[in-house]
């Protein structure tokens, strides 16, 4: 089973060294990814397996029994399959990618990411896990081309936040070792009654949040989404990092730690505030890639909320939403990639009316947008609905956070509504409306680009329609045990109702009097409609930006007041300027430093 780890990494390294032949690299990458995907499915179907090795204990000169290095269980097997699937889709999509849109050595890095992800998922030993996890941070950094100042800054920010969180995870791992004396995730079960237990949990959770992009460690995702090529965005923050970050969170909350009610409360607060804050930011974006980036953050809030509930139903909802989100968000980023590939524009107001030129892209984008907004019968609705059910169910329990269930529910539902509002902007701004003159010649993207989109869109529909009967029980009962969906809801039945109503609507449209309607241009106060006239969809959303209590907050957010990265940077630079002032460069001062140091040390030792 370890072939899924070393094969892509070794292949990636070899491809990195050999000269730059993009096409061949892409095809080799495709082949290897296909092999690995097949292997991952086999691993998933075979169920549990493990690789044990005895020497890790001797490395650190401590007496530790033989350790399990890698272990497959239902959860890691499941995540592994999706990692393989998304890698395959992205690699197909980028086979014909234009050179300037992808970073150099894109495919080797992609392969290494695949191998390292498999390693991180299957690692049972926490240190081994951290090695793969940290390696992923580096490949993430390399997937941004960084040939201009903005993207270089975004790459930096991403690696500083993620690499920094790796160090914090490291502290958590060392604490876990201190508490439990073992590093095998399988054997750990740590109570969070003591201070050190809580500290260990929080440090590890920060790692998971930074990777998944939950508030307040989210700020790298919008920047990354804006600057990186969409093919990288589709692969990393949109799907893979969610898969891994949420995977770690499930492991932590479900297996490694036993949570107390205050931690549950904290996680729920973070989860729901992530939903709202990020979606509010998404509403006012003009850059469609950045808009998608903020949604990538917002959707994490649902997963965090679901998993934070701690109930089986909540876990099911969170994991299902993670899978769904990975599907539609990587789909959306690939759509963004196709649009950028054809038009070269990244602002919504420069686009419009592309639905006729790019029909497949439009339909898939519509499916993804409806799915992310939680419209039945698509998959986003199914998982959100399970999360709502889980929250209601959670309200029956006792505890401080259970009492507040109505708040969590309200925030989750409002977040969903706002998501819909901002995707109206995305869809109508890019695909609907009057066609712009300069966009007349835009053609549909090639089949290598739209086939992956179509596959993902079909999965979105399928996962939604068959959610309750097949998909959820099949995928998640091996992971979390048997569970019962509460409330009266059957996805296929509802989907049937929807289809019936659509068919009825079409019948009425076809047969009725509606046929003879008049077609005319928009009415703009009696003026003649010029080609240059038009309504910017984004203009409507400026109202939100400018409304009274919000405008102040948005202004501060634009100035990055709420960005942990900027706050930290400011703090450190403050210290730097103080220290720099003391380093005057004057020899006399330096001699005084020396003598002072000597005297202070003497006093220190003589007085102690």
């Amino acid at each position: 089973m370890d072939v899924v780890i070393w094969l892509p990494i070794v292949a990636g390294l070899i491809l990195l060294v050999i000269p730059n032949l993009r096409a061949i690299k892409g095809i080799i990458g495709l082949l290897i990814t296909a092999i690995v995907f097949y292997q991952l499915i086999m691993i998933y179907l075979a169920g549990s397996a493990s690789i044990q090795i005895s020497y890790l204990g001797r490395i650190l000169d401590l007496d530790i029994d033989p350790m399990t290095l890698f272990r497959v269980d239902a959860l890691s097997g499941l995540i592994g399959v999706f990692v393989g699937f998304f890698t395959l889709m992205v690699i197909i999509y980028t086979l014909r990618g234009r050179k300037d849109h992808l970073p150099q050595n894109y495919h080797p890095y992609l392969l290494m990411t695949l191998g390292a992800s498999a390693g991180a998922i299957f690692a049972d030993n926490l240190i081994l896990f951290l090695i793969f996890w940290g390696f992923l941070a580096i490949t993430l950094y390399l997937l941004i081309p960084s040939h201009d100042d903005e993207s270089a800054a975004a790459a930096n920010k991403s690696l500083i936040i993620i690499g920094g969180s790796d160090v914090i995870i490291l502290v958590g791992i060392v604490l876990v070792w201190k508490i439990a004396g073992t590093l095998s995730m399988n054997e750990l079960s740590i109570g969070t009654g003591s201070g050190i237990g809580i500290l260990a949990f929080l440090t590890l959770l920060i790692g998971s949040f930074a990777k998944a992009g939950a508030f307040p460690f989210h700020s790298w995702i919008p920047d990354f989404a804006k600057s990186a090529p969409p093919a990288s965005s589709a692969y990393l923050p949109a799907s893979l990092d969610k898969l891994l970050g949420i995977y770690l969170m499930v492991r932590l909350c479900n297996e490694v730690f036993i949570l107390n009610q205050w931690l549950t409360l904290a996680i729920l607060i973070i989860g729901t505030s992530t939903i709202i804050i990020a979606v509010m930011m998404a509403l006012v974006q003009h850059d469609y890639k950045k808009l998608l980036g903020y949604h990538a953050v917002s959707q994490v809030g649902y997963m965090v909320t679901g998993i934070g509930l701690g109930t089986v139903l909540g876990m099911v909802g969170g994991l299902f939403h993670m899978v769904n989100h990975a599907l539609y968000k990587s789909g959306l980023f690939l759509v963004a990639g196709s649009i950028e590939h054809r038009t070269g524009e990244s602002k919504i107001e420069k686009l419009g009316g592309l639905s006729r030129n790019m029909p497949v892209t439009f339909i898939t984008a519509l499916v993804f947008a409806l799915a992310i907004s939680g419209i039945p019968p698509f998959n986003g609705f199914a998982s959100k609905w399970i999360i709502y059910q889980a929250i209601v169910d959670f309200g029956r329990g006792t505890g401080i956070s259970n009492e507040l269930w109505l708040i969590w529910l309200a925030l989750a539902v409002i977040g969903s509504a706002l998501t819909l509002a901002s995707f109206v902007k995305f869809i109508s701004g890019i695909f609907l409306g009057r066609e712009k003159k300069e966009l007349k010649d835009i053609r549909e993207s090639g089949p290598l680009m739209w086939v992956p989109l179509a596959i993902i869109a079909l999965l979105c529909v399928g996962f939604g329609i068959f959610a309750t009967q097949y998909v959820v029980p099949f995928l998640f009962s091996p992971v979390l045990g048997e569970f019962q969906l509460v409330g009266l809801w059957s996805s296929s039945f509802i989907s049937m109702l929807i289809i019936v109503s659509i068919v009825l609507g079409l019948l009425i449209y076809g047969l009725g009097t509606v046929r003879s309607f008049r077609k005319d241009d928009s009415f703009i106060g009696g003026e003649n409609l010029q080609d240059s006239t038009g309504f910017e969809v984004t203009g409507f959303y400026n109202t939100i930006h400018d409304s009274k209590p919000l405008s102040g907050i948005y202004d501060k957010a634009d100035k990055k007041w709420f960005d942990l990265y900027n706050i930290g940077k400011g703090g450190v630079l403050q210290f730097t300027s103080i220290l720099k002032r003391v380093h005057s460069g004057l020899l006399q001062t330096y001699i005084i430093w020396f003598i002072l140091g000597l005297v202070i040390m003497l006093i220190f030792l003589l007085l102690i």
């Binding site: 996890w133 100042d149 160090v167 730097t576 300027s577 140091g597 040390m601 003589l606």
Partner: protein, 513 residues
């Protein structure tokens, strides 16, 4: 083997004086000579690996017999720890002198350069091998004076100023060390480390003992650039020619600073809780101050120099934790772990800091620029340098799977296992800051847009590229030292020598009787 010990000092010393003579006839011979010398010494070190764990090899210069109980001869001690440091010194010296072949051509008086280089290495090898305090001082001065001259090698205004500051402060440090040596001699009547180690406890009263320790900490601390004695380093290391910077930062501060501190405080003085605490505190302070200052630098090499201070802090912290655990009678295996962390980081730092200074040299050679605000976008033009520099940066920042990650990991594990939580947490936090400034540096130099200031773009000679490749690969693969079989061979002899605080003087005194 015994007869080969003085070769480490003689060979570079002799070649230092041959070079100016032969340089008059054959420039190419001179260029190659120092590389060959260091190659021989490196091979010698590697060849002796099997001997490391068989105790120590003692070579008595001139075969002088002890008079009374006092060993008056000069002992050269070759044990696991000195072999480890010698290996690092000569390996880095080999790469730097090879690198210099292409780099130093632009300066006049190449011969003087190689002479000074060989002198400096001879001094360092001498410090590491020497078994008595006064010879440590003498070799220290040889190495230091050679390095003063090398810092000023460019004879521009800045370089001379840096060299002057370095001389004054270095001289101050040497003076303090000399006073310490004098105090030890005054009380014990002997200069042999092993001999005085026995006499110090019985003859010293407590106050004198502490004063001597403080003098040594300050003196050698200055050579090791521990805060608050670090002030000379940023100027000196950034002004020297790049291959020299990589030697200064990579090995000089370790050989004449950290090595001697470890040797004296583990093997000459008794470990006390207070001194151990002082060590750890100084280490943590260096870590913080160096890191925070590095983030504000806009000069390529100054940033690297400040980062050296911070990384030396890590080494001292690791070793200091080991001292603390031993002094408080804690678990020996955790002390060994802490010292392993310190030494491993020392090795890693030698590798990646030399690498970083050499890439700095390549960039400077090629573009004639050192200001980060003017550089940018070099990754397209020099992919090899970019990748080597990236490997070095990631290794310093401690991201897995690069080697720096493992040494920091071990230091942090040791800190937490010994329940010094704050130390562990600071080490982790500073690692984030390290990551931040190295990423900033990487962005400003190699990524971003190419700036208009980058006008010229000279080709880089092969001799400068080879060391980059070797060191870059080492940054990735050195993590294997964590594997027990490798650790047993390369690291354990050094760690065992350090941990066993009494054995050192026992063996030497037995030989001398």
């Amino acid at each position: 083997m015994e007869q080969l010990v003085p070769v480490f000092i003689i060979l570079p010393l002799v070649s230092a004086f041959i070079i100016p003579v032969t340089g008059r006839f054959s420039q190419n011979f001179t260029r190659g000579l120092s590389s060959i010398v260091f190659l021989i010494l490196t091979v010698l070190c590697v060849a002796s690996i099997g001997l490391w764990d068989r105790g120590m090899i003692i070579y008595t210069v001139g075969g002088w017999k002890p008079v009374g109980d006092i060993p008056i001869g000069i002992d050269l001690i070759f044990d696991g720890f000195s072999a480890f440091i010698l290996g690092i010194i000569n390996f880095i010296a080999l790469l730097s002198s090879f690198y210099s072949i292409g780099y130093i051509k632009k300066y006049t008086s190449e011969n003087n350069f190689y002479t000074l280089l060989c002198l400096m290495i001879a001094g360092m090898n001498g410090v590491v091998l020497s078994g008595d305090l006064f010879n440590i001082y003498v070799f220290l001065e040889i190495a230091s004076i050679a390095s003063y001259a090398l810092v000023a090698f460019g004879v521009e205004k800045e370089e001379l100023e840096a060299s002057f500051k370095y001389q004054v402060l270095g001289g101050l440090g040497s003076l303090i060390i000399l006073i310490g040596v004098g105090l030890v001699y005054w009380i014990t009547g002997t200069l042999n480390i092993a001999d005085s180690s026995n006499l110090l406890i019985t003859k010293f009263d407590n106050k004198f003992y502490i004063v001597t320790q403080i003098l040594f900490i300050a003196g050698f601390g200055l050579k090791a650039a521990i805060v608050p004695f670090h002030t000379w380093l940023p100027d000196a290391h950034s002004s020297a020619p790049s291959p020299i910077s990589s030697l200064l930062s990579g090995v000089l501060i370790k050989a004449v600073g950290i090595y001697v501190l470890i040797r004296l405080f583990f093997h000459m003085f008794d470990l006390t809780y207070e001194v151990s605490l002082l060590f750890t505190l100084l280490g943590v302070l260096s870590m913080i101050v160096g890191g925070i200052l590095a983030i504000g630098q806009s000069d390529y090499k100054r940033l690297l120099a400040y980062s050296s201070i911070s990384q030396v802090g890590y080494i001292i912290t690791g070793v200091g934790l080991g001292m603390l655990i031993i002094a408080t009678g804690g678990d020996g295996s955790i002390a060994a772990l802490a010292i392993f962390g310190g030494l491993f980081h020392l090795l890693n730092h030698a590798i990646f800091k030399s690498l970083m200074f050499m890439t700095a040299g390549v960039v400077e050679h090629s573009t004639n620029l050192r200001d980060l605000r003017m550089l940018g976008g070099l990754s397209r033009k020099m992919p090899l340098t970019t990748n080597a520099s990236f490997a070095g940066s990631m290794s310093i920042s401690g991201l897995p799977p690069f080697s720096g990650f493992f040494s920091k990991l071990i230091i942090i594990i040791a800190a937490f296992q010994a329940q010094y939580y704050v130390v562990g947490a600071i080490a982790a936090l500073m690692s984030i800051i390290t990551l931040a400034y190295f990423l900033k540096f990487h962005k400003d130099t190699f990524l971003s847009k190419a700036r208009s200031e980058v006008r010229q773009f000279l080709p880089v000679p092969v001799t400068m590229k080879v060391p980059l490749v070797i060191l870059g690969i080492l940054c990735v693969v050195l993590g294997v030292f964590l594997v027990p079989q490798m650790k047993e061979i390369f690291m354990d002899p050094a760690i065992n020598v350090i941990i066993d605080t009494d054995q050192y003087s026992e063996i030497i005194l037995n030989v001398n009787r």
